[in-house]
Amino acid sequence: MSSLLIGNSHVAALKQAYDAQKIDHNLHFLTIHGNRLLPNLKIDETGALQATNEEVRRELIAQDLDSVSLNTFDNIIIYGCRLRVIASSRKWISKIKSTAKPFSAQALHQSHLDFIHTTSHYKFLIKLQRANLNEDVKIASIPAPYPNEVAPFAQGLDRVNHSEVSKIMNIHKSEVETVGSTFLDTPAALLSKNGYTTHKKFKHKGEDDFSHLNVKGGALVLEEVLNFIRNNAPPQMAAGT
C-alpha cells in the first residue's frame, strides 16, 4: 500500500507523529505552507501531478513526485489547506459567531456552501474527481484543525447558533462526498468542550500559534489517516498478514 498525503503546514504535526512511530506505512508527503500548493498543482491526462509555478515544481522534484502518476498510489489524502477554516482559524470563529446574526436562511446556506467551495482544498478534490484516476485509488479529505480554545479570538462562543453550526458540519461532509472523496472529520478527542475549538492540551508550543496542533494532536489525526488506509487495504493486509 502506498499513500500520498498532500497538505499545508498542518501536516507538520502528523509528520512528527509519523516519524515518532518509527513504522513505515509507505506514506509520502507533499506540503508547502500557506495556500500556495494546491492552487498551483494540476493533474494532467495521465493522472500525473504538474506544477504551474517554480516553487511547487521544486517541491515535486524534491519529493520525487514530478510527473509521477497519482494512479501509483492506493490512497490520496488531502489535509488542511483551508477546508473549514477558510483563510485562517480566526475566520472559523467569525464564521460560527456569524450564525447567531439575523441573516436569511438562504444567505446563510449559500455562505456555508461558499465557505467550502472557495477553498483550494475543495477545488483540488474536484481536480482529482475530474482526473479519472483508477477506481481503486481512494481519496480522503480532512479539514484543517480548529483554532485552539485558548486563542484570544476564540472567546465568546456562547453566542453561536448551534443548529446552524451543525448544518455547516453536515454540508462539509456531504459536499466532499459529492465530489467522490471520503470525509474524515476532526477526531472528537481533539475537541474542546464547546466542540468548535481544539482542546488546549493539543496547543502547538509556539506561544501565539493557536492554529497548529502539537505532536499529540497530530498523532490523533494520523490515526484517522492510518485507519482510512487500513480500511482500504486488501483483506489480508488489513488483517496484518
Binding site: 504535526a13 441573516f103 444567505a107 465557505f115
Partner: protein, 345 residues
C-alpha cells in the same frame, strides 16, 4: 483686459477639448473636500453609486459597509444578495424622495410600512424587491432583514464623514392610500400592480430639491459634520411611463436631476457635485463609455470616471500616499516554521 483673459485652459473649449485626445482630458472637477484615506465614506443611490464605492475601496479609502454578509459568502454571491453593493443593503435608492423616506425610517421620523408581498410562498420587501434572490422564506425573516438594513442605514448616516448619493430617476411609484414610495413599480419584479392604489408620479424640480434638502437637513441633525457628494447617474432609463420616447424622458429626467444637484452644490458649503454624468454622457466622448446597448456603462467608462475622481482630488490637494501592500503576517511565519521543524533533516 477682460474676465476671460486669465482663465485656465480648462475654461476654453479649444484648449480643454478640441485640441486634446479624449483620454487626455482632465480637470473635470474642482473638489470642495479633501477626502482623507481614514475618513468614513458611505455610498447610496442609483446603481452607479456602487462603482464609486468599489473604486474608493480599491484605492485604499475608508469606504464603509455597515451591513456585513454572512462570513464565507463569496464575492459573487455577495453581489447576488446585495451585500457590499451600497453601504447598507438598501438596494437602489433612485429618487430623492426615496432617500428622504429611508432617512425618516432610520431616524424614526416616520413608521416603516407594514406592507409585504407574498408570491409562491416566498416573501418580498416592497422597498427592496430585488434584495434577496427568490425572496425571503418567511414574513418574520423579511421584517428582520428590513430592520437590519434600516439600522445599518442609520449607522451610515451617523458615522459618515462623506455621504455619496447618486441621483437616478424622477419617475416614481407611490402608494396613494398611505403616501409611501416604492423603488420599482409593483408587479414588475414582484408584487401585484393595483391601479386603484399604485400611482405614477413624475417628480418635478421643486419637489426633488425639497426632498433632497429635507434628507440632508435630517442627516445633519444627527451628524452635523456630514458632507455630501452628489452625482447623477449616467445610465439612461430602462423604461418610462411618462408617455414620451424613452430617450426624451431620459434627457428630461437627467436634466432635472442635474439642475437639482447643481443648485444644492452651488448653494451649500457641505454639498459637492462630481460630474460622472457629464464625463460618461458628453458628446466629447462619442458614446465610447457605453456598452452596445447604449445604456450600460462599460468598465472603461467606470475606470475613466473614477480615475478623474482621484486625479482631481490629487490635483487640488496633493498626492495621496501609496497604499502599502500587506505585509507577511505572523500566522504565515508560524506556518513556515511548523513545516521546517517537521521536515528538516
Amino acid at each position: 483686459m477682460n474676465p476671460y483673459e486669465n482663465l485656465p485652459p480648462k475654461a476654453f473649449w479649444k484648449t480643454a477639448v478640441a485640441n486634446k485626445s479624449m483620454f487626455d482630458m482632465s480637470d473635470f472637477w474642482d473638489p470642495k473636500f479633501h477626502i482623507g484615506r481614514n475618513e468614513n465614506v458611505v455610498t447610496f443611490g442609483s446603481c452607479f453609486a456602487q462603482h464609486i464605492g468599489n473604486a474608493l475601496k480599491n484605492n485604499g479609502f475608508n469606504w464603509i459597509s455597515n451591513e456585513s454578509p454572512p462570513c464565507g459568502l463569496s464575492e459573487e454571491n455577495c453581489k447576488k444578495f446585495n451585500y457590499n453593493v451600497f453601504s447598507a443593503r438598501t438596494g437602489n435608492i433612485y429618487t430623492t424622495s426615496l432617500l428622504k423616506q429611508w432617512t425618516e425610517w432610520a431616524l424614526e421620523k416616520a413608521p416603516v410600512p407594514e406592507e409585504i408581498w407574498v408570491e409562491n410562498g416566498r416573501y418580498f420587501d416592497p422597498f427592496r424587491p430585488n434584495i434577496e434572490p427568490n425572496g425571503f422564506e418567511s414574513l418574520k425573516e423579511v421584517k428582520t432583514s428590513q430592520l437590519e438594513t434600516i439600522a445599518a442605514f442609520r449607522t451610515s448616516i451617523k458615522n459618515a464623514r462623506y455621504f455619496v448619493f447618486t441621483l437616478g430617476l424622477t419617475e416614481s411609484w407611490v402608494n396613494s392610500e398611505f403616501g409611501y414610495e416604492y423603488p420599482m413599480c409593483p408587479g414588475t419584479v414582484a408584487g401585484k400592480f393595483d391601479e386603484t392604489k399604485h400611482t405614477f408620479i413624475n417628480q418635478q424640480f421643486s419637489k426633488i430639491l425639497e426632498n433632497l434638502s429635507s434628507a440632508v437637513k435630517l442627516m445633519k441633525e444627527v451628524n452635523p459634520g456630514i458632507k455630501f457628494i452628489l452625482t447623477v447617474s449616467p445610465v439612461p432609463l430602462t423604461a418610462t411611463k411618462s408617455g414620451r420616447h424613452v430617450a426624451v424622458a431620459t434627457m428630461a429626467s437627467k436634466s432635472i436631476l442635474r439642475a437639482v444637484a447643481d443648485q444644492m452644490a452651488t448653494n451649500r458649503a457641505n454639498v459637492d457635485y462630481f460630474p460622472s454624468y457629464e464625463i460618461i454622457n458628453s458628446p466629447i466622448f462619442r458614446g465610447s463609455f457605453f456598452e452596445p446597448n447604449q445604456r450600460s456603462v462599460n468598465p472603461h467608462g467606470v475606470n475613466f470616471v473614477m480615475s478623474q475622481f482621484f486625479s482631481c482630488l490629487e490635483t487640488k490637494f496633493g498626492k495621496y500616499a501609496k497604499v502599502e501592500s500587506r505585509k507577511k503576517t505572523a500566522a504565515a511565519d508560524f506556518c513556515e516554521e511548523a513545516l521546517l521543524e517537521a521536515f528538516s533533516k
